[in-house]
């Protein structure tokens, strides 16, 4: 078996992975990046809308500060986030945007003078300050108090990823593409690398490193119907779950985006609504102001998706051969806007469904979009219970998103986390010692070889694609926008059976090389088990918070459920183990989000009492000690100063 050594192994070449690699390489470390696909094809490139950072350059962002951004993020998360992490994020986001500008991102810029824009669906005129001309501009996004989302037309993820990858090129960091990490090599809670399968020729290799970073993005494809790329099959979070000691956090927190197009589920960016797109029902009536008079189309995603579903349940949906949907109306934006600033959207509508958004309505429906949950890490990005393992980006539960992420916050998270976590990874790798035990790698590889042998030559009967479709169907049916105890119980029962059935998968072809069917067969166990923990976590959480919305428990329950779900599942064990830990230190006490309605069950202890439980509560669950003690980055009562206008 070939063994490849480096100081730092980064699994995943999306924004999060590449930014970390850059941080390490600049500190003189020898880094290797792995990716399923050439780095620029990573799913980060598909993000269109933009990245949030409180730059306050446009008039509509006047008065914006990291504190306001932080407030929006915490509210958006429905208080499910780690407020300290959200703080670190909001404070660093402007620096990250400027750094990306320095690296070469062609951000759209402020143009001085009068501009025609749309505010709350109506034409309006704003006047930009000439003093800010040429600085990075922003657009509106859902759930934000200010215009804060930096963008390059509607190719933000694309330009940022290309620029990031240019830096990787410049630093000469090797990227091994078409490589899939199958299993972590670890012993005694120390991770030393990963077993990797080449998707070019099927070769099994070991990558050994002092520090291993997982940045593999979301797991949306477990849902089948998803806006995610087809490679987002949860292979990264599976690496962690498989260890049996590293917990996944808040797996039930799955975001459904209001506007996936029908029928292909491709995302229409939130930027469309930010720029003035409206949601209409079967009568072409604009219904959002009735539900959300304040934010209208621009409430947070969980709320808009829920309202859309509610409205459809009232019989106001449009019936089509592909099921029920609503309309997104972009016509008033005009041809120029649609073919320049929203050009990708225009192309998608034209090519994939043959709808011309300049003159026609776009059919949309809420679609699975983002996974807030993932590998649970501390504020330095270190995985719980496992030294030498880091995670960041969408795959991680760093936890600035809690139960609902704001649009534009995740792309920004990848870059900010890359800076922050990357520094810690480098610090760790710089002082870490490594005794490579080749036998350990061989053992881990053998497990995978056995698995492959079973899949290819065993006497199973199951068809992997059928199982995959089944998992997607169950999740989409029962673990979506609205959840009920009954439905979730059905999902849990059915998924349990599917987890067992994955053991009997049989690959039909013995073709050498990458063998596409074998590749997916290797992933199916992870997909089934993750689907199971998503459903089980949702069943056990008897409240509604953010994207997790229970019809039988409609209230947000801060008394019992102001916590984070953690789940571990050791190999060979029939059932996963669930634990709960405090969400983190509270600065902004739980309160009303200002949109979404619903009622709350208040905490029965004071914020101080809650905060006292945080450190011990998290440490017993395996959190490693961060470089700086918990709470150092959370300025006390900053929100109060902000609300009282003292900042």
């Amino acid at each position: 078996m070939r063994i490849i050594n480096s100081d730092v192994l980064v699994i995943g070449a999306g924004l999060a992975g590449e930014r970390t690699a850059i941080a390490c390489a600049k500190r003189g470390l020898d880094v290797t990046i792995l990716s399923l696909v050439p780095p620029r094809r990573s799913h980060s490139s598909a993000a269109q809308g933009g990245m949030q950072a409180a730059l306050a350059n446009t008039v509509m962002g006047e008065g914006d500060t990291p504190t306001v951004h932080w407030l929006d993020t915490v509210k958006g998360s429905d208080w499910g986030c780690d407020q300290e992490v959200a703080r670190i994020f909001a404070d660093n986001a402007p620096i990250a945007m400027r750094e990306m500008a320095h690296f070469g991102v062609p951000w759209n810029r402020v143009k001085g003078g009068k501009q025609q824009v749309f505010i709350k669906g109506k034409k309006a005129e704003i006047e930009e300050d000439f003093a800010n001309e040429g600085l990075i501009t922003s657009r509106a996004f859902g759930g934000t108090a200010k215009w804060r989302t930096c963008y390059t037309a509607d190719g933000t993820g694309h330009t940022v990823l290309y620029t990031m990858d240019n830096m990787v090129l410049q630093l000469g960091i090797p990227v091994h593409d078409r490589m899939e990490a199958l299993r972590l090599i670890h012993k005694d809670n120390r991770c030393i690398g990963a077993i990797v399968r080449s998707l070019r020729d099927g070769e099994i290799m070991a990558y050994i490193a002092k520090a291993t970073v997982i940045a593999t993005g979301g797991y949306g494809r477990i849902y089948g119907e998803s806006t995610n790329a087809v490679i987002n099959e949860g292979t990264g979070s599976w690496l962690a779950l498989q260890t049996g000691v590293v917990p996944l956090g808040n797996m039930e927190a799955v975001q459904v985006h209001p506007t996936g197009i029908v029928p292909t589920d491709i995302l229409i960016t939130e930027g469309c609504r930010g720029d003035g797109g409206l949601l209409l029902d079967v009568d072409e009536y604009r219904f959002m102001p009735d539900y959300e008079p304040e934010k209208m189309e621009l409430a947070s995603r969980d709320v808009v998706s829920r309202r859309m579903k509610e409205h459809m349940l009232k019989g106001k949906g449009v019936q089509s051969a592909y099921g029920e949907h609503l309309w997104l109306d972009l016509r008033q934006l005009g041809e120029h806007h649609l073919t320049t600033k929203l050009r990708e959207v225009y192309d998608i509508c034209m090519y994939f469904i043959g709808v011309n958004p300049i003159t026609e309505l776009v059919p949309v429906r809420p679609t699975q979009h983002y996974s807030m949950g993932g590998i649970r890490v501390n504020k330095d990005g270190q995985a719980y219970n496992m030294e030498g393992l880091f995670a960041l980006g969408e795959v991680a539960c760093w936890d600035m998103h809690g139960f609902n992420r704001l649009g534009g916050n995740s792309l920004a998270e990848t870059v900010v986390a890359g800076m922050v976590v990357g520094k810690q990874v480098a610090a760790f790798a710089n002082k870490a010692e490594l005794n490579v035990e080749v036998t350990l790698a061989e053992e881990a590889a053998d497990l995978e070889r056995k698995k492959m042998d079973r899949l290819m030559n065993g006497d199973g009967q199951e068809n992997v694609y059928a199982l995959r479709d089944e998992i997607g169907r169950i999740l989409t049916k029962y673990v979506h926008i609205f959840r009920t105890g009954e439905g979730l119980q059905t999902a849990v029962n059915e998924l349990k059976i599917i987890v067992d059935r994955t053991k009997n998968v049989k690959v039909r072809t013995s073709a050498p090389g990458m063998n596409p069917e074998l590749s997916i067969a290797l992933r199916i166990e992870g997909m089934a088990k993750q689907a199971y923990v998503i459903a089980k976590g949702a069943l056990d959480r008897t409240e509604s918070r953010g994207a997790h919305s229970r019809e039988d428990y409609p209230a947000r329950d801060d008394k019992n459920w102001l916590n984070r779900t953690l789940v571990r599942w050791a190999e060979g064990e029939p059932d996963p183990v669930f634990d709960y830990e405090p969400v983190g230190l509270l600065d902004l006490p739980p309160g009303d989000r200002g949109y979404g309605g619903g009622h709350m069950i208040d905490m029965d202890i004071s914020v101080d009492e809650y905060n006292k439980q945080v450190d011990p509560g998290q440490t017993t669950n395996g959190r490693l000690q961060p470089a700086e003690p918990t709470g150092t980055k959370l300025p006390k009562e900053a929100w109060r100063a902000k609300l009282e206008g003292k900042e």
Binding site: L171, G172, M350
Partner: protein, 262 residues
């Protein structure tokens, strides 16, 4: 961020300025391109005037002779031109053919691709309702035709040049004939069977010239107001205008249409 400046390929970009090898190669490449382009442009302009000049036969021999005289007296324009154009013709041939793939294998590859893309258009049904229509593509085959016609122009044009040079400087060994172009000689030459050659030369040179001008315009000016669409209109205009004028002239020189317009 101190050592961000890696130089992976020092040869690709060398920072030694004017005297470096890279600089020399770059200058040569630019010079080559300018030479083939400019000579092409000169030849194109020459052909425009030349074909218009020849078309005067349609107004009768007198008109033709008058023009011919103008080109020989008082200044020996024709004498200079025949040498000059001969040189330009030769230079153009040498420099332009550097782009023609030398190996048969390579040429085959290009042809195949050209044909494949061309055929592809026929195999894609186009939905007239759709805004995003597949645009037609035929420029690759145009280029192949430019090479093919270039070859014919090389042979036929060279023969013609020698012929007229001989004519301009000598009496071509004919008793009593003064050096210089005249309608009488021209017509007698063409009538006696050379019209086939002239027809072929005319068609190939017009095709070659129109494609050449089209590509020159796109290559150098596509980012100005002068976009490809307009270049294409010019291409069709040049092609059909000169084919018609040329064909009429051939008919004129060959007899039937001589002086029809007078």
């Amino acid at each position: 961020m101190t050592s961000l400046h890696t130089e992976l390929y020092p040869d690709a970009v060398s920072r030694h300025g004017k005297t470096s090898e890279a600089h020399r190669i770059s200058r040569k490449a630019l010079r080559d391109e300018l030479i083939s382009g400019l000579t092409g442009a000169i030849l194109a302009a020459f052909i425009w005037f030349h074909l218009l000049f020849e078309s005067s036969i349609l107004f009768g021999r007198a008109a033709y002779d008058k023009l011919a005289l103008l080109l020989e007296h008082p200044l020996p324009i024709a004498h200079v031109a025949v040498i000059g154009i001969g040189i330009v013709f030769f230079i153009h041939f040498i420099w332009a053919s550097r782009k023609i793939p030398g190996k048969l294998q390579e040429r085959k590859k290009m042809m195949e691709l050209g044909i494949s893309i061309k055929k592809a258009n026929n195999r894609w049904q186009q939905d007239p309702k759709s805004d995003i229509r597949l645009r037609k593509h035929f420029e690759t085959s145009l280029w192949i035709w430019q090479v093919r016609t270039g070859m014919i122009v090389l042979a036929a044009g060279a023969f013609h040049l020698v012929l007229v040079a001989w004519n301009i400087f000598t009496g071509m060994g004919i008793e009593g004939q003064t050096p210089g172009i005249s309608a009488e000689i021209a017509v007698s030459r063409v009538e006696s069977g050379l019209w086939i050659l002239y027809l072929v030369l005319m068609i190939t040179v017009v095709v070659h010239m129109s494609i050449g001008v089209y590509r020159l315009l796109v290559k150098w000016f596509a980012d100005t107001w002068f976009v490809r669409k307009y270049a294409r209109i010019i291409f069709y205009f040049l092609l059909w205008f000169f084919i018609i004028v040329g064909a009429a002239t051939t008919l004129g020189l060959a007899g039937p249409w001589e002086g029809v317009l007078s």
